[in-house]
């Protein structure tokens, strides 16, 4: 792919070029979509194609899960509307003939955990889903992004999508992360550096030695939150870490096909000299355990920091923004973040519901007691089973936390697991928006180890104090 006569290409260019069926004069391209993930919340899209009398063009490239509305308790879904949505995706899977990983299926889980786990997500593919955290799958070097219901209907009917090519942003992170500093801290620090809308209209490629050193679970945490900087997608170049993860996954290529695939995947990384529209660099060693204090992701600060003082803001709009967030969050200007009491803890979600996340939380909780209630929810049934095989579930329950059934759970509370009005939650999820975990809920985002430490302390605390 590095033809000396041609311009060096980015990973993003290569995937884009391989999928553009045609490009209009205004630059909008019709892209072929290799994988389409749907969930029970995708019902509007199925209703649109049903209304128009259309079918699913490639059911073999369509994969369904139930995640947003499934309860974290065992047994049938008590809520009739939620049960209806799950029955709806089951009916659509039967009608259109695609594979559904629904309740009771040993593969069930959050769509962004299941795709990689089952080998549905592969390097070099285009992958879309009616969910903004589809950027997660970019950890494999796949171009993956979230779309709305009308676009889901378009992909169901045509297996294609019209897209204008976004710009390319390279985020380079070199150096080594410190002890107890995780991929979550890294992405929070990146968003704090570039802003909550800093990557709007861009596809982000994460590169540098700190990124190379991340495991696949860590890369997924990183790419997952690309959307929180406004990014259209996040990408990490595939390498041996990627191939080792993919090999042997149920839906991944096998035998000679795998060898051919790896040869193709090795040509994907950005060429030397490839040009990005923008570049940002960070020093990994400078990143501390990080938490958000407000209702936008750019309020991420080192845990050693303080709630800002609106009076110190540079202009009136900033003053107003800070004051409104402090009021909603029930905080005091200049208060140390370390020590802010929390009412509960949530460990899970498509950001931090994988096995390494649960191990990191368990390492802090082992032999300790939580002083506030908390819920730990694995991202999928395979993660749940792996955690139980390692005895992690016992670590959580012995600490006094609840071990829930896999799904989205308290990340958005669509299944009824909500944070009560005015309650403060230390959460490993991805959004701290007003009301995100339930009306009036107050969310502080942090890593699994930091959330576990908060459970023990009953307050936001620096996990480095709990170092085993």
């Amino acid at each position: 792919m590095t033809d000396p006569m041609s311009r060096p290409l980015t990973l993003f260019d290569k995937i884009w070029n391989a999928h553009a069926i045609l490009t209009r004069e205004d630059g909008t391209a019709l892209l072929w979509i290799d994988r389409h993930l749907v969930h029970e919340g995708s019902f509007h899209a199925f209703d649109i194609i049903a209304r128009d009398g259309r079918g699913v063009r490639r059911p073999d490239l369509t994969f369904g899960v139930a995640d947003h509305y499934v309860p974290s308790t065992t047994g049938p879904i008590g809520d009739a509307e939620a049960a209806g949505l799950v029955a709806g995706i089951e009916a659509n899977a039967a009608r259109h003939g695609f594979d559904l990983m629904g309740p009771g299926d040993p593969r069930q889980g959050i769509v962004h955990v299941v795709g990689p786990e089952q080998g549905i997500t592969l390097p070099g593919l285009t992958l879309v889903c009616g969910d903004s955290h589809t950027s997660t799958h970019g950890a494999f070097g796949a171009l993956a992004f979230g779309i709305g219901a009308s676009e889901v209907a378009h992909v169901l009917a045509t297996q294609t999508l019209w897209q204008r090519k976004p710009s390319a942003l390279r985020v380079g992170v070199d150096g080594a992360l410190g002890a107890h500093v995780a991929a979550k801290d890294l992405i929070l620090a990146i968003i704090a550096a570039i802003g909550a809308s800093g990557a709007v209209g861009h596809v982000i490629e994460y590169a540098g030695s700190a990124i190379r050193a991340l495991s696949m679970d860590g890369r997924m945490t990183l790419c997952n939150m690309s959307i929180e900087a406004g990014g259209r997608a996040g990408l990490v170049a595939p390498d041996d870490t990627t191939f080792a993860y993919v090999e042997g996954r149920p839906r991944a290529p096998k035998g000679a096909d795998f060898v051919t695939a790896v040869a193709a995947w090795r040509r994907l990384p950005s060429d030397a000299g490839a040009v990005f529209d923008r570049e940002v660099t960070l020093d990994a060693a400078a990143i501390a355990p990080t938490v958000t204090w407000g209702n936008t992701l750019d309020t991420a600060l080192a845990v050693t920091g303080r709630v800002p003082d609106p009076d110190a803001a540079h202009d009136a709009p900033a003053r107003g923004r800070i004051a409104a967030q402090i009021a909603y969050m029930g905080l005091t200007p200049n208060a140390a973040l370390d020590g802010i009491p929390v009412d509960r803890v949530f460990i899970g979600s498509c950001t931090n519901g994988r096995i390494e996340d649960l191990r990191a939380a368990a390492a802090v909780l082992r032999g300790r007691r939580a002083t506030v209630p908390g819920l730990v929810v694995a991202g999928s049934v395979p993660v749940q089973r792996a955690a139980e095989a390692e005895g992690l579930d016992r670590v959580f329950t012995d600490a006094g936390l609840r071990w829930g059934e896999p799904g989205c759970s308290m990340c958005t509370g669509m299944n009824g697991d909500t944070v009560a009005p005015g309650e403060r939650c230390a959460s490993t999820s991805n959004r701290n928006f007003v009301g995100r975990q339930g009306p009036g809920s107050r969310t502080h985002l942090m890593s699994p180890a930091m959330a576990a430490a908060a459970a023990v302390a009953g307050a936001i605390t620096d996990v480095r104090r709990f170092a085993p």
């Binding site: 299926d105 979230g146 009917a157 045509t158 976004p166 709007v200 149920p250 709009p317 923004r321």
Partner: protein, 204 residues
């Protein structure tokens, strides 16, 4: 889809950055079937918390002027349904969440990106009682008695909006090219076909 051509209307001003789609429509309403009526969910919890919020479930100005990164966050198209059902036809902001902007175009809701200075001038005019004229074919917006401000929009998105086109129908006009790509690609990237589903033991 209702075609969008030109519009003269009063504007509501919501001059705050990072209005996310969770605020525009809280998650618990997303389970509701489509049909008119998403307007009642529009900014449901924000309206409950703030008296004097500039938008309500009905009788809204057709134009909304908002802060940067409007519609960031969740991909929920319900945010667009709620605005559209509540009578909003056009949102003007310094930037939008990419997914929100795409969803808006599919539902006849025009999103216009202007600079903060241009938006400041529009807000000033609106505060003095001006209505705004939005002309999509000519790509400009003008306050009463003011000068026209040009905006840019993708040609394809504009055509779909102006003509109220269903883009699945438009795409299927390229069925031959899609099928040819599919056949070529299947041969070139055999590895990209998903392996067969695993044999499953049901969950204990």
């Amino acid at each position: 889809m209702t075609p969008f051509t030109a519009l003269r209307a009063p504007a509501a001003v919501l001059d705050r950055a990072n209005i996310d789609t969770d605020q525009i429509i809280p998650a618990r309403f997303l389970r509701k079937p489509r049909g008119p009526g998403y307007n009642q969910f529009l900014f449901h919890d924000v309206r409950a918390a703030e008296s004097g919020f500039p938008l309500g479930p009905s009788d809204n100005p057709a134009i909304l002027i908002a802060g940067a990164n409007f519609g960031c966050g969740s991909s929920r198209e319900g945010a667009v349904y709620a605005l559209a059902d509540a009578g909003v036809r056009c949102v003007i902001a310094p930037s939008f969440g990419d997914i929100f902007a795409a969803n808006a175009a599919k539902n006849g809701l025009l999103t216009i990106v202007l600079t903060p200075a241009e938006i400041g001038a529009l807000i000033e005019a609106v505060r003095q009682g001006a209505e705004l004229s939005v002309d999509l074919p000519r790509e400009h917006v003008r306050p009463d008695n003011g000068t026209a401000i040009r905006f840019a929009i993708d040609a394809f998105r504009k055509t779909c909006l102006v003509e109220g086109l269903d883009d699945i129908g438009l795409t299927l006009a390229h069925a031959g090219e899609i099928a040819a790509f599919e056949a070529r690609d299947r041969a070139a990237r055999a590895w990209a076909a998903p392996g067969s589903p695993p044999t499953l033991n049901s969950r204990s």
